[in-house]
């Protein structure tokens, strides 16, 4: 059985420190290819940059009510390789660049953050006027993106408009926690790599390491079309907004909570999970004594949003590792939550029977 040890944490470190803003996923893709190349029956790179890996199973034929005539239950798992970040859009001279955000980002969190730019990771900073030179009134104002620049200093020709940039945060471990940028969704990528390395024997595992999730679930849409699976599972990372309410009232909008295990989705803004799959994962967790939680239904979306609407429809669900402060320069997650996410998926995929889809969707 796979678990999370030093080797897995090292891999997560490497993945989180890599820079792969939506549309420029090459660094993470190289790591993924290297990790899985000896563990799959087939790997290919599709037209938009997804890594599509197949690990064949030896399971029995599914019941006739399934819509495919394949000999095994074909399960697609996705984890998106891309992260939120920036794109330089204009050169103001002297190493100052205007930029746009790529993916959902709160501009209020940007001033003063260290970044790296381009394939060569040129260091830079999103500048902010120091407190000495601002008035009390100015400090109450929101800073607009137009007023911000990425400053890399003069003298380099390695950076140009069109280059991507991301936070310069380096991965750290601290007791039961990991702190890093891009835990969304390198946690999912690392989980999927482990699942490939220790693939469940019965099913065909169709692993898609997807691109451009953060800007509209783009990679998964075409990956699902290619794989045309029986079931789709998005492995993602979801915010835990679980701090105590500062007004002393009960926090009722936590989304998920750290330490309670993998977050199973019932519904988000993009998908109503197939109730059969919700039951399957929850029952597996209960039977195997693996803690899990239901993510609070609401907005947001994962690759499942694109997968389930593909072709004639694909029963889909998402499972996420909770982490705080997502889509910012640094987030924090619990190693145990990751471990339990991997355990839940491993246990669930091992007991997955074609009978699950033999009954109609609830």
């Amino acid at each position: 059985m796979p678990t999370i040890g030093n080797a897995q944490l090292k891999l997560l470190e490497k993945l989180c420190n890599a820079c792969a803003v939506s549309g420029d996923e090459g660094e993470v893709r190289s790591i993924v290819m290297e990790e899985i190349k000896d563990h799959t029956d087939e790997v290919r790179l599709d037209a938009v940059g997804n890594v599509l890996a197949t690990k064949k199973g030896s399971g029995k034929s599914p019941s006739t009510s399934l819509r495919t005539s394949q000999s095994h239950l074909r399960v697609m798992l996705t984890a998106h390789m891309d992260e939120v970040g920036f794109m330089l859009v204009a050169d103001d001279g002297e190493g100052l660049f205007r930029f746009e955000t790529v993916g959902g980002m709160d501009v209020r969190q940007l001033p003063g953050k260290a970044v790296v730019v381009g394939r060569e990771h040129v260091p830079g900073v999103i500048g902010a006027r120091p407190i000495h030179l601002t008035t009390a009134e100015e400090r109450k104002q929101k800073i607009s993106l137009d007023a911000l620049r990425i400053d890399i200093g003069p003298g380099t020709t390695k950076v140009k408009p069109g280059d991507w940039a991301t936070f310069a945060t380096r991965f750290q471990r601290s007791g039961p926690s990991v702190l890093a940028k891009a835990l969304d969704d390198r946690l999912g990528v690392a989980t999927l790599i482990e699942l490939i390395k220790h693939a469940p024997p019965e099913i065909d595992l169709l692993a898609a390491f997807t691109v451009q999730e953060e800007i509209g679930l783009r990679g998964s849409r075409v990956a699902a079309y290619t794989f045309n699976p029986d079931i789709g599972i998005a492995l993602d990372s979801t915010p835990a907004n679980d701090l105590p309410d500062w007004e002393g009232e009960e926090n009722i909008t936590y989304n998920t909570k750290l330490g309670l295990g993998p977050a199973i989705y019932v519904a988000d803004g993009s998908t109503i999970s197939d109730p059969r799959l919700v039951r399957w994962l929850a029952e597996t967790g209960t039977a195997s004594k693996i803690p899990y939680q239901f993510r609070q239904p609401g907005g947001g979306g994962t690759d499942a949003g694109a997968i389930h609407k593909t072709r004639g429809g694909i029963p889909s669900i998402s499972v996420s590792v909770p982490h705080r402060y997502t889509h910012s320069a640094i987030s924090i997650a619990r190693i145990d939550d990751w471990k339990n996410t991997l355990s839940l998926l491993q246990a669930a995929l091992a007991n997955l029977s074609p009978d699950l889809l033999a009954t109609e969707r609830a």
């Binding site: 999970s273 239901f294 239904p297 389930h308 609407k309 072709r311 004639g312 429809g313 029963p315 969707r361």
Partner: protein, 331 residues
Amino acid sequence: MKQLIQKLTETFSPSGFESAIREVIKQEVQPLADEVRVDALGNLIVRKGAKAKNGKRIMLAAHMDEIGLMVSHIDENGFIRFSSIGGIRTGGLLSGRVQFTNGTQGLIGVERDLFAVKSPTFSQYYIDVGATSAKNCPVKIGDVAAFKRPFLELGQRLVAKSMDDRIGCVVLIEALRALKTSPHELYFVFTTQEEVGPRGAATSAFGIDPEIGLAVDVTLTGDTPKSKYMAISLGKGPAVKIKDTGMLADQHIVEWMCSTAEKKRIPYQREVLDGGSTDAMAIQMTRSGVLAGCLSVPCRYVHTPSEMVDYEDVQNSVKLLVALISAPVNL
């Protein structure tokens, strides 16, 4: 037909959880159909007839899901916070009754703030099911509820929750019942997840691969006090959709629908809807594109627990649909 409307509107099936309504509709259509199947997203697909030489493959879609509420949190005193499924209007929430798919009933309350000047936001509402703690609350996170209101006849007008779009389902069922002959391969599709999508229509249309797609859904009206201007009224006949926010109906389809109504002397209205869309939007964009349009039943108070339609409009919608699918189509 009124009994059928009552049966369908009093069934609880929010988007994504359509099994209850699917069973009710299945019972109705089974004896009338050549083939009945359920696809991966839970769409109920009913085939009638085969393609004659001058026939086409036509998909008719009415969505069987309804707007609803989903539990997002249960506090220590057993009060339930919820997330919306589909476009819930907060104006219709307070003191509303809801029923969960497990049968639990409750009412909707709102946080009291004596100094509030603004109307409450969505997150200030909660459901009270009579529980006194999180422990004895009979529902859990992810459970879904729909409005609970009995069907009501007010003369010519019919009122119920989920007229959107159970009335479309009724029109499809009654058209299937009334249909005598057709040169077409017809698919009556009772779709899922329209209120959050339209998702079920997208996947069922891919599977069916139709040449013509027609949604049957409700549309808004402009005939109530101070309503937004819209040239649609209850009682003036079914509406032929020309445009909504998600779709420009194919002009040949519009022409086909209008001329058929005129030929059969069925009153109809021309519809331009400034807000919302239907399954036709998804069908139109399927594969390499499908000729699509929509037959709308005018409906007041859409997305509240009391939606109102006119019975004559409903009957005329059935007549128009039957006329459309009975004869060859030359577009």
